[in-house]
Amino acid sequence: MELTAYGSHDGAITAGSAVASAIAPPSDVEGDIVTVTPPSMPGASGRGLRVQGMPWRRWLTTTPGRLRAASAILVVGLLVFAAVTTLATEARSRAAGAVETKSAPELVAAENLYASLADADATASTIFLRAGLEPHELRTRYLDDVQQAGQHLAEVSRTLYASSAAQGAIGTISEQLPAYTGLVEAARANNAQGYPVGAAYLRKASTTMRNEILPAATNLYRDAALHLNDNYQSGTSSLTLGAVVAAGLAMLALLIAVQVFVRRRANRLLNVGLVGATVLVIGLFGWTLVRFSSAHDALSRAQQRGSDSVEVLSSARILALRAQNDENLALIERGTGDVYVAEFDRLVRQLGGRDGTGGLLGYAAGLADRTGDGTRVRSLATPLATLQKVHDEVRKRDDDGKYNEAVGLSVGTSRADVQSTLASVGGAGQELQAADRFQHDLRADITRARARLATAAHDARAGFGVLEVAVPLLAILAGLLVLLGLERRIGEYR
């Protein structure tokens, strides 16, 4: 082992050097005048504390006294090193654990919450548009959506940090969702009677959803995304790393300085105890750095290969659901829904850009290239293009006054005449099918990204547990080795 550390003025170990020079004054003469003043206990000398038959100040200038002091400083140093490393490890472990067990599930739950709510609303308006006997599968889909929204809301409430903004949003949704379903049921009862006021109830329900519930769900989703980001930040914080590096280097400097001192005083090349302690500290230090670095890598992977894609694709999913509902509302408003048509066009442009390959999906494809999923994500342009094509056809028919055909093409119909007319262009309900297809493909890509996020988040956390136990144990062991090693040297002076 090379022991050139002593006396070095390398900036990184100034703290260590200072302590080393304090316990090993640059004099070779034994029994020198007191050069060490204990930094604390100023009143101790007054009380005349005596060690081994001499005042402690005097005792401290003897070799056994210095060795004892050195061993005390090393033990305290090890305690500090262990404490700093434990705290830093715990902070990082907590952040990585929060990514895996809180933020990532929370992001998923918030996105699913939004999707269930938006799909419930779109399905309710689809049922209304179809008119006539309520198709069983659509009614089931609506009920499932509402039930799942309730479940996802419970998940979000469980995991979401108690930020007041999130609580407000959760409160809004839990308050308004029953109101919403009540309005939908009132609409349904009136529709069954043939009363047109059912449409007013449905409109009120949809307004509640669009103006109250979905904005709150968007806030929850945003909160979850920001929390995830916070945890990435604290999981890779340079503060914790810097603390560990500083504590580790200082500890090593101390150990080396003491060994130099011991070597000079005792003319022994190596002190087994001190060497053992040094090896342990180096090992622990290295282990911590390696763990930090691999957790850092895993978190970067979680973000770059997982959550980045999850977030962008989830936003795309939300936009697509909004567009679908806009299409329904445009048809329900029958000729005066221009604002919804314009919003549909805007949303689709935002999704796919001008040609269906740019926009949010183009961006998502760029992200997916990191994991080789680029082609999959790019293929989303196909169902989006189909959706756009059917939409254009729906609008054309509506503008040409073929309202029933427009509705039939969009959401399906039970009218035999419309069905036979649409048979030549591929059948009824094409827009709903295209939208479902797009959602389906999008969901598959989100699921893949989500799995990568979960795996990487797990990797980031795994291994911290052993380290957290090892740090205090190895530090205690190093302390014992220090005491053992120096005690033998001290023993030689008795």
């Binding site: 548009l129 047109p196 007013a200 409109r203 890779t236 280097l249 977030e311 005066t336 006054g401």
Partner: protein
């Protein structure tokens, strides 16, 4: 292990931590996509009462017999026939007048049947093949005609002098009255009892303006669509609804269990007429001729009977413009 190398390793790790602290680009892209753009609201146009309008029920007299369907004279009618489609504004929420039947999705009602009669007179054959419905809120009715978004509106629309400033009207096809609908157990018996009460009325309706003038202390709760007032009354959010007796009757017909009554004191006369764009008097005269024929052959009376279960003569046509 070299200390220098250790320091170097530590610095590398530190540097890596500093450089690759997570970028927010994907997240900000994802979150920004969810923020809707701000929309501007349009200001309502101001209306001025045109000079020389003493009687809003006065319309343009037909100047020739009705042409054969499918053979319209040059002008507005010809343009509509060539287009193959009569674009009309209706309501889809007022039972028996203009409503969408939720059981089959069809638009139906007295107003709609009137428009069908006009379409039949222009095109012949099945009128539904030549009718394009646009549903309008109460406040959109006059502006949709004035802006030429629709050829005509039949949607329980009262002819008033103020509206004559923006559009032309046909002769009157029904005389309605403004009334008030309250829950059966309400203490309100007169319009004046509504002082301090919350009253629902539709934006852009004559009823809203008149209630405001009659009982200034009544708190008006305005809605965009007539049926929204029924929802508000059923929810108990308002004490009363003021509207035409026709509309209030359509509300009562939609009650699962009857629990409302009208005051039964007409607050006004509301002559319903079909609105058309200004400077298309040929179309107005044609529509008046169709209405005259319906008055004469009893088909207008049949419409009252079919939709309103009322047996009464239609109001007479008033000409002189």
């Amino acid at each position: 292990m070299s200390r220098h190398r250790l320091v170097l390793a530590a610095l590398v790790v530190l540097g890596a931590a500093a450089c690759s602290s997570p970028s927010n680009d994907a997240q900000s892209q994802a979150l920004r996509a969810l923020i809707p753009p701000t929309t501007s609201t349009t200001t309502p146009r101001t209306t001025a009462t045109p000079p020389g309008c003493a009687d809003p029920t006065q319309s343009f007299r037909p100047d020739q017999p009705l042409p054969v369907p499918g053979d319209m004279p040059a002008g507005t009618l010809r343009a509509i026939q060539d287009r193959g489609m009569l674009i009309v504004g209706v309501d889809q929420g007022t039972l028996d007048w203009g409503y969408r039947d939720p059981r089959n999705g069809n638009i139906d009602g007295l107003d709609v049947d009137l428009l069908r009669a006009i379409a039949r007179a222009i095109f012949g054959g099945d009128p539904d093949a030549h009718l394009q419905f646009k549903t309008l809120t109460t406040a959109q009715r006059v502006s949709a005609v004035a802006d030429g978004k629709v050829d005509m509106v039949a949607s329980l629309l009262t002819a008033t002098c103020a509206r004559w400033g923006q559009v032309d009207f046909s002769t009157t096809y029904y005389d309605a009255h403004q009334d008030v609908l309250v829950p059966t157990d309400s203490t309100v018996t007169e319009a004046s009892d509504l002082a301090g009460k919350t009253v629902c009325a539709t934006r852009g309706s004559t009823s809203l303006e008149r209630m405001h003038a009659l009982v200034p202390t009544a708190k008006i709760s305005p809605v965009d669509t007539r049926a929204d007032c029924l929802v508000a009354l059923q929810d108990g959010r308002v004490d009363a609804v003021t509207s035409d007796d026709t509309i209030l009757a359509s509300f009562q017909a939609q009650e699962q269990v009857p629990h409302t009554r009208t005051l039964g004191h007409p607050l006004s006369v509301e002559p319903y007429a079909i609105a058309m764009q200004k400077h298309h008097e040929d179309l107005v005269r044609f529509v008046n001729a169709v209405l005259d024929r319906m008055r004469a052959d009893g088909s207008l009376t049949t419409l009252y009977d079919t939709w309103l279960h009322q047996n009464m003569p239609p109001p007479p046509a008033v000409y002189g413009r």
